[in-house]
Subunit: 147 residues, 2 copies
């Protein structure tokens, strides 16, 4: 019941780009800033681009940036999109479905709890995560244009 | 963000025992009923016993049973106790803590969402899970005393 590394890295990429004032950024810059694997980040960036969170520009001078403003990137959506499995209870194992699943209420109860979880995240966007902007930019050594 | 197999199996053991009218049951009976690994179940039963959910009686004729009535076994407690990690966001990797953690609000937001998740589970006990009792007992081929 912890978020996957994939979601963790997705949020870090979004935070980094949210601090960027729409400049193109390389994956290497992000991996250097967080001290995390560039290989992992490439997969994350590729999926976030396909999902419409990022725009990528190839070639020399290329890089990535947010496809939408931070206020329009809802955290509930990000976590729904990046977590592989929000079902949150097995009910199925290698040999097939659990024998009591036709009568078991667990799935329904866990589903209700999950809705409460997602509804809470729904209140927040990337904009909430990139505040305080200056403090985060300093920690990531992001060079920001003077406002 | 799915519950671990450990939690899944813990809930299955509790459901099985909740259908039992306080009889002692062997681990083999539970593993046969669900068609799941006896080895895995032994670890689950051992921990649930140490946590005070089950009582175990060793030796011939021995077995396990619930230590409390189903109404007193709250699902929020079970999931808190059996999930290793409810923090739900990495923030730490092999090399140490995330560089932005001093200013990052994600931990707080995820914590709020997790509270909403656990508060929902808090409304339910094992009693809710073992209803409809007859239907579940039939699926698990549990022999119940006539009421």
């Amino acid at each position: 019941m912890r978020l996957t590394r994939f979601t963790d890295y997705s949020l870090r990429v979004l935070i980094y780009l949210g601090l960027q004032d729409d400049q193109l950024v390389t994956i290497r810059k992000i991996s250097d800033a967080y001290g995390i694997s560039r290989n992992h980040l490439m997969k994350v960036v590729s999926l976030l681009t396909r999902m419409g969170y990022l725009k990528a520009q190839r070639g020399p001078g290329g890089g990535i940036r947010l496809a939408r403003i931070p206020e329009d990137i809802n955290l509930a959506d990000v976590i729904r999109d990046t977590e592989e499995d929000l079902v949150m209870v097995e009910c199925f194992d290698e040999e097939g479905s659990c024998v009591i699943s036709p009568a078991c209420k667990l799935h329904h109860i866990i589903g209700e709890a999950l809705n409460a979880y997602i509804s809470t995240l729904r209140k927040y966007t990337l904009q909430d995560l990139i505040d305080p902007k200056d403090e985060l930019a300093r920690l990531l050594q992001v060079e920001r244009n003077a406002a």
